[in-house]
Each structure stands twice: as structure tokens, then as C-alpha cells.
Amino acid sequence: MAILRRIPRWIPALVLLAAFGLIRQPLEHRLREELATANLLLPPPGQNAMQQMSQSTLLGTLGGLRSLVATYLVIEAFNHFSNKEWDELQRDYAIVTNLEPRDEHHWVTVIWHIGINATANMQNDMRLPEFERKRRYHEYALSAVELAERGIEQLPDSVPIRLQLAEVYREKLRDPCAVARVYGEIMKLPSAPGYAERFYGYFLADCPGEEEQAYAYLMRLYHAEERHHKGTLVTKIRELEEKLGIPPFQRIPAESGEENDSATQGGKILVP
């Protein structure tokens, strides 16, 4: 007992600390995996993101202020948007999407900024020579597509990311086949908007070589339900009837389709 009393206190303290550490290690490891599986614990930021961070953002991230750092970078990215500094904006969002990969808003916003705003700016920025504007326009549009693919990898069931991707294909890359493919993916998702299945048909109709398939699909929609009898759908069917030379007795009646498709007006698509 006397020997025990003579042992410095830090020794049993260290033994207790180490024993507790050894016991909790496997428990915490298992818990970490379960929390990550439940998406409650975010994965560590990638090595590239850590290397891109400034000292303060890195310290904030390592210090558990991940969401605050992400929000700060979103605000900083907005300043870059105001100043039309697209590369800086993209760099900020590269970190933000690494810090919070499961936040759908970040993906949607960066695709919108790079795919729609940056490309629009390249169309109008007269300070740059035309060839450079064209080059950057395509570069930004393709970057947006790449970002969308990374976002979909993280959130496979995301409708808003796909809607934004479809917008880039439609407005900037003028690729109706790709738009149709994206809407084809959207309509299979549980939270797909009601207009997705019509949009798939509309863009398929504009895709060279897919006219017959589009006509069959749109006719199936037309006959399936009254709610599909939108002006755009009827117009698309009539265009295809002309293109494919459908005999008059097989064409849809002339008085069909009074109502316009709300989702197509002004090209506006509901993106949260």
C-alpha cells in the first residue's frame, strides 16, 4: 500500500487514459461507420480540397466549423459572382461541395453559376476576343456538366441537379438528345415533377434520328390521359406528323390542345 502511495499520480492517470482509449477505439470506429452510413457524419474532405483551402478555412474545417466555413465560402462565391470572377467562384464551390457533398443546393447553385451565368457572361463580354469567348463558353458549359455528374454521383436520386443539368444542355449546349436523356432519368425518380415525362418526349422529338420513337412515345402519352393534352405536346405531335408523313386519318384531331404546358412557359423550370 505504501508503495502504491509513492507512485506518482500521473502514472495511474495515464494508464486509465490509455485503457479507456483502447476500449473506446473499436466502439468509436464502429459508431463512426454507422453514423457515416446514416449520412449523419460527413466524409472527410478530399485531399485536393484540403490543399486548395487557405490557412483559415483549413483551420476552421479541422476545428469542427465545417458548415460555417462552407457558408462563408458560399458568401465569398457570391461576391465572385457579382464581380464575374468565374474561376474563383468555381474554386470556392470545389471546396464547398467537398465539405458538404450531400447538400443538393451547392451542386445546383454551382451548375447554375458555371453552366448558365458564366456562359452567358462569355457571350456578352466584349473585352475578350471572339475565339476566346467561344472557347471559355464551351469550357464552362462542359465544366457544369462535369459538376452535375459529380453531384449525381453523391446524390443519385437528385431531381434538382438533373433539372439544372438539363437546362445547361438545352440552353447552352443545344443538345436535345442529351436533354431527353436527362429527362428520361428524371422521370424514373420517385420525386420527379409531373411534367418530366412530357419533357422527355418534347426533347426526344427534337433529337435527330429519334423522331419515330418520339412520335410513338408522345402518342402514347396523348392517349393515356387527358391531362397530357397540353399545347406544346399537341404542337410537337403535329410537327412529327408532318416530318414523318403520317397519313391524315391517323393524325390527332385539329381542335385538340388548347391549354399550354405551364412548365414550358418562358423556359422556366421549377428548381428549388
Binding site: E28, R32, L41, T61, L62, L65
Partner: protein
């Protein structure tokens, strides 16, 4: 034979006179700690918090209502978490040295109060203040988020209805998106996560303050331990990749993992704030792990504090 009239009354049994652990003595010390912390005007930071939440709520960036709500939530809960652990460190680091300075410690320990009761009482006092602060911050957040949510919903409704081209289903979907980022009861679990983390931070700080020479030392070392505890799992992967799985780095990382609490685990509040569903089984396990930390670090504190000469 002893004369019953002259014999002194026999002393009460030792366990009745001075029980090994008295909850009432702990409660008295905890109540004293709460008063002490309130007198330090600790609740003033709530004002700063409220101002910050209002400021973020009125940021004018072009975002959808759902995104704006998500941003308010993230900033509010992130700040709440930051205040909680910082408060846990600073207040706990100040308590024992302040008692020594005021000589209250000598008065307390000269009474039949065991040192473990003193430590547990101090910790409970800090935890009560932390719980009150977090609840107050949560209430401020809830009011702000609910106000913004209802404002966004009514604006969206009137805009969509006035355009007369959206189906009921589309309107419902859009409102659902806003509500998903609004005030939900699950957010209370995010507050609980911050509380659990702050509790571990507080008990580690108590341990440090039992042998530290000054409050400043305790605060600096506690913050350092917090940063390491938060970063080691992230940083280890980074270092291992950089050094191509060096054995020394691996061993160093293992030692750090054993000795320093893993604060990163408590970051599960971030997932809840982002809208992920709560898994109650995991929350219970986190509470049990926290209880383990409290118990072990209190024992460690006692080991150091029990023989300390004042």
C-alpha cells in the same frame, strides 16, 4: 460499568455522519457554480448570437427560399456549436482557479465535502449553464427560422397562385421543399449533439485545470486538444497519403487516437441540420459514449485533485 448519565453520547456511525457521496452536497456546489457563472455575465453572448442569426436571416443573396433557410440553419447551428464548446472551455477553466483566488475552495474543502463532490458539482453547474444557453439559442433559432419559413411560404404561395399556371401538385411540391429546410423537431437532436460535445470538452477542461498552473494554460491546452480531437481522423488520412503510409505516422496517429477524445464523432449534428433523418439508436450510443468520457475524466481529475495541497 459506565454511568448512563455521565457517559458521552456515542458518535453516530461513520456512514451516517459523512456519507461517501452526497447528491445534496453536489447540488449545492452546482447551484453555487450556476450563480457564479451567471454573475460573470455569461449570458450576454446570447445577444451576440441573436444579432448574428437576425443578420444571416436578412442576407440578400439570390437564392431560393429553401437554400436561404438552409443557410440560416447552418450558420445558426454552427455558431451554436462553436459557442457551446468555447463556453465550456472558458467557463470550466476559470472555475477552479477563481475558487482558489477567492479562497472559496479552502472554505468548501474544510467542510465535510469530498473532493469528488466538489468536482462533480462544478461540472454539473457548467452543464446546467450550457443546457440553458443551448436551449435559449435554439429558441432564438426556432423563432427566426419559423418566421422566415412562413414568410417564404406565403410569398411563394401568392406568387404561384397569381400566375395561375401551376398545378396543385406543383405548388405542394414547392412548399414541401421549403418546409423540408424549415423548422423541424429533429433539429433539437442537433442541439443535443452540441451539448454532448460541450460536456466532453468541459470534463476534459476540468481534468486539465486540476493540474494546470493558470487558467490561460488550461484554455490554450483545451483548445489545442479540441482542435486535435476534431482533426485527427481527417488529418491522419491526409498525412498517411502524403507520407505513403509511413509506420511512424501510423503509430503517432494511433497514440493520439488513444489519448485524445474523438470530437469529430459529435459532428453528427451537421447531418441532422442538412436534413438527414435521425437514427435514435446512434444518438443513444453517442450519449453512452459521452457518459463514459464524463466518468473516466472525472476519475482522472480526482486522481490528480485528491492529493493536491492548497
Amino acid at each position: 460499568m459506565t454511568d448512563p448519565d455521565t457517559a458521552s453520547p456515542s458518535p453516530p456511525p461513520r456512514h451516517l455522519a459523512h456519507p461517501v457521496f452526497s447528491a445534496s452536497r453536489v447540488a449545492t456546489i452546482a447551484a453555487g457554480t450556476v450563480t457564479q457563472l451567471i454573475r460573470m455575465k455569461t449570458f450576454y453572448f446570447l445577444l451576440a448570437f441573436a444579432l448574428l442569426v437576425v443578420a444571416v436571416g436578412n442576407f440578400n443573396i439570390p437564392a431560393t427560399p429553401a437554400k436561404e433557410l438552409s443557410m440560416i440553419k447552418k450558420v445558426a447551428f454552427g455558431t451554436m456549436d462553436l459557442f457551446a464548446w468555447l463556453f465550456a472551455i472558458v467557463s470550466t477553466a476559470l472555475l477552479i482557479p477563481r475558487d482558489e483566488e477567492d479562497r472559496t475552495l479552502y472554505t468548501i474543502l474544510s467542510k465535510p465535502v469530498r473532493r469528488i463532490e466538489y468536482l462533480v458539482g462544478k461540472l454539473c453547474g457548467v452543464l446546467v449553464i450550457l443546457a440553458i444557453s443551448l436551449l435559449a439559442m435554439f429558441a432564438i433559432c426556432a423563432v427566426m427560422i419559423s418566421m422566415r419559413e412562413s414568410a417564404f411560404i406565403s410569398a411563394e404561395l401568392s406568387s404561384m397562385l397569381s400566375q395561375e399556371r401551376y398545378s396543385e401538385d406543383e405548388i405542394r411540391q414547392q412548399i414541401g421543399l421549403i418546409q423540408a429546410q424549415g423548422m423541424r423537431p429533429e433539429l433539437a437532436v442537433a442541439v443535443l449533439a452540441s451539448f454532448l460535445k460541450a460536456a466532453v470538452v468541459a470534463v476534459v477542461t476540468i481534468f486539465l485545470s486540476t493540474f494546470a498552473s493558470s487558467s490561460l494554460f488550461t484554455i490554450i491546452v483545451s483548445i489545442l486538444i479540441f482542435l486535435i480531437g476534431h482533426a485527427h481522423s481527417m488529418a491522419t488520412n491526409f498525412w498517411l497519403a502524403e507520407t505513403e503510409n509511413n509506420i511512424l505516422v501510423r503509430m503517432g496517429a494511433k497514440v493520439i487516437r488513444i489519448l485524445i477524445p474523438d470530437y469529430q464523432l459529435f459532428a453528427f449534428s451537421e447531418g441532422i441540420v442538412l436534413g438527414e433523418p435521425v437514427v435514435w439508436g446512434l444518438v443513444v450510443q453517442m450519449a453512452l459514449i459521452t457518459a463514459g468520457y464524463l466518468l473516466v475524466f472525472l476519475l482522472l481529475s480526482l486522481l490528480v485533485f485528491v492529493d493536491k495541497e492548497f
